[in-house]
């Protein structure tokens, strides 16, 4: 299968969907660039799957526009959209073998038998299942079904590719391998891809950009690095990775925690009155003796230490009563110097790692 020369952009504008009195999507906007891999990430009920169903044409929105390239598809029936989709449970036809499954979209398009055979072989080769064409679907493992579903979704060279939590049924190891494989396949084919997941790590691993969704709206649309390093709301900071939240006071231009001003890499503009300091557990360091004076320092007492193999986590109670966690990697002599519960501890946070988010407005 050749790489798609120029997979079209997708422009989504003002998509609204209501079920009775419940609004699932409030005017959803999203621009996906040609060949881009965008992930919709959110908890269940955030509307991410509904968007995918609307893109595929299985659910009709109450309002909005979806353009693939220049073409408006919002009212087009699903079988005319030419959009590939990988279903959460794969939806491989159980009454057909692997070959027939992958050939299905080509048959619908009236492709000749010889061309079908060569294109199916090519697609199965691409997902490393060349030997499995004759197998029945129930003879395949979960990972193999996943690949067949992928081959079936790309064999007809759709304009865009949709994936609905395709890896959620696989075990952790296989999931991580498939993430990389799908990523490579995407790089090779260059197909505009919209991916849905509730697994933040998966989203960060695979995507060019991630749209974090909350209650039918995009909370933040950013690159994985941007999302992790600079979350813009407390919801996003909580959803992506692990976070500690400390209440801070705004005193003019200064930001204070526990009466002590924070050293920050960038000054903040006028913003919401209530702010939280977001600290990732691995950004904190345990300080011993003389410490770099440019660090922000926090005093506390160790409550518990949890050993997790590659790292350990200290739960620390700060002077003002806030709970905070610190992750340190089990490297060098770190293990022999494990803090003990009840001991006082000093933590350092670099000014570059100071991130403030406003309190979430109650929607």
């Amino acid at each position: 299968m050749k790489a798609v020369d120029r997979s079209p952009p997708v422009t989504i504008r003002g998509i609204a969907k209501r079920y009775g009195n419940t609004t699932v999507l409030h005017g959803f906007d999203l621009d996906v660039n040609p060949g881009e891999f965008v992930t919709l990430l959110g908890p269940s009920g955030s509307g991410k799957t509904t968007i995918l169903m609307i893109l595929a044409g299985f659910v009709r929105p109450n309002a909005g526009s979806i353009k693939v390239g220049e073409e408006e598809i919002v009212a087009m029936p699903p079988h005319k959209r030419n959009v590939g989709m990988v279903f959460q449970n794969y939806a491989l036809f159980p009454h057909m073998d692997v070959f027939q499954n992958v050939a299905f979209p080509l048959r619908q398009r009236g492709v000749g038998a010889a061309e079908i055979a060569s294109r199916v072989r090519e697609a199965l080769g691409l997902v490393q299942l060349g030997e499995y064409a004759e197998r029945r679907v129930d003879q395949l493992s979960g990972g193999q079904r996943q690949r067949v579903a992928l081959a079936r979704a790309i064999v007809f060279e759709p304009r865009i590719l949709l994936m609905d939590e395709p890896l959620s049924a696989l075990d952790k190891k296989l999931r991580e391998r498939m993430q990389i494989e799908i990523r490579h396949l995407h790089e090779r084919l260059g197909m505009t891809t919209i991916y849905v997941t509730h697994d933040q790590r998966e989203a960060i691993t695979m995507s060019d950009r991630v749209a974090v969704m909350n209650a039918g709206r995009i909370a933040q649309l950013d690159t994985p690095k941007g999302l992790y390093a600079r979350p813009r709301t407390r919801f996003v900071a909580e959803f992506i990775g692990e976070s500690n939240f400390l209440p801070v006071e705004l005193d003019g231009a200064a930001v204070k925690f526990g009466g002590q001003p924070l050293r920050m890499a960038e000054t903040i503009g006028p913003s919401a009155p209530k702010q939280w300091l977001v600290i990732r557990p691995e950004k904190l360091s345990i300080l011993n003796g003389h410490a770099d004076p440019t660090l922000n320092q926090f005093q506390g007492r160790v409550r518990e230490v949890v050993y997790q193999g590659e790292s350990f986590i200290c739960y620390v109670t700060l002077a003002d009563g806030s709970e905070i966690s610190v992750r340190n990697y089990s490297r060098g002599d770190a293990l022999t110097r494990l803090p003990e519960a009840g001991q006082p501890i000093r933590l350092g946070l670099s000014p570059e790692d100071v991130v403030l988010v406003p309190e979430d407005s109650v929607a």
Partner: protein, 304 residues
């Protein structure tokens, strides 16, 4: 590491082996013991009467051992005609049930659960009513001065009452009504089990709704369809009450022939022989269906 492996090697090879085996045996025996009442019951109510039926069929009216009961079935052409009529009625009733039942089961499977439940009651309710009552109800509706003829005549569509009961049409109508649930219930169950994502996948891959139905939904409904068809057809073969009443003596089926032979002529040997023939034919049909569908990956594996 070595210390650990030495210690486990020190344990005797078959530690507790005998006790574990005994426990396994005791569990198996207990399972057999609690199954045995039902096995015995099934044996008594199925194998004993069937065996007796077969035994009886080998004797003539004077109690002498004979194959005459079977030979007569071959020699007299009227038996063959009755058998053909039985098959004809069964095939037509099955086809009518299929034509009515497939769309009905499809509708039920696509409706929301609540609505489907209410409609399902309308299919099952007759199921709980006596076959005799239902058959007489059809007679009332279809007879010469029945509801249908009255309406058609008062509307001026016909001048003479149509012959709807006491003939072939009446038998088909009455039997189809009785048999419909046997086709709809297994069909509905198998349609309900078809994941909607299969249909979505069909559409998504470019098949029109019609093609998605025929290439995806229909093949996946085949296990339920074949179960329903076999059940309906086999039940039709031995059906007595409805064809006897609705046919009014004009449609002669195998079961009626058996009844006549045993009641009117008190020829138990001949009646038993006919029963054995029906049983063998039915088993043969079941076996043929199983061979036909079982090897096509449909019956057993269709819905995984």
């Amino acid at each position: 590491m070595t210390a650990v492996s030495l210690q486990s090697a020190a344990a005797p090879a078959g530690l507790n082996e005998d006790a574990l085996e005994a426990a396994q045996r005791a569990e198996r025996n207990w399972m057999m013991a609690i199954c045995s009442p039902s096995l015995i019951l099934v044996g008594i109510i199925i194998f004993v009467p069937v065996g007796w039926l077969f035994w009886l069929s080998l004797f003539d009216a004077q109690g002498a051992l004979t194959a005459g009961n079977y030979l007569r079935l071959l020699e007299q052409p009227s038996y063959f005609k009755t058998l053909m009529m039985t098959f004809k009625v069964s095939v037509i009733v099955t086809v009518v049930c299929l034509a009515l039942g497939y769309p009905l089961a499809y509708l039920l499977s696509q409706l929301p659960r609540r609505t489907a439940g209410i409609l399902m009651i309308s299919v099952i309710l007759p199921f709980w009513t006596s076959v005799l009552v239902r058959t007489y109800a059809w007679l009332v509706i279809l007879q010469r001065r029945g509801l249908v003829n009255d309406w058609l005549m008062s509307l001026g569509i016909i001048d003479e009452p149509l012959q709807l009961a006491h003939n072939f049409t009446g038998v088909i109508v009455g039997m189809s009504h009785v048999m419909l649930p046997f086709l709809v219930l297994p069909l509905y169950a198998s349609m309900k089990a078809i994941d909607r994502d299969y249909l979505r996948a069909g559409l998504n891959l470019g098949a029109s709704p019609t093609k998605t139905f025929w290439q995806v939904f229909f093949p996946l409904s085949l296990p339920g369809l074949s179960a329903g068809v076999v059940l309906t057809f086999v039940l039709c073969l031995g059906f007595f009450v409805t064809p006897a009443l609705m046919g009014g003596g004009n449609v002669f089926m195998w079961s009626m022939r058996i009844e006549q032979t045993s009641r009117l002529y008190s020829n138990w040997g001949a009646a038993s022989a006919m029963g054995v023939v029906l049983l063998v034919l039915t088993l043969g049909i079941l076996w043929a269906f199983y061979k036909l569908l079982g090897t096509r990956n449909l019956l057993a594996r269709g819905l995984r």
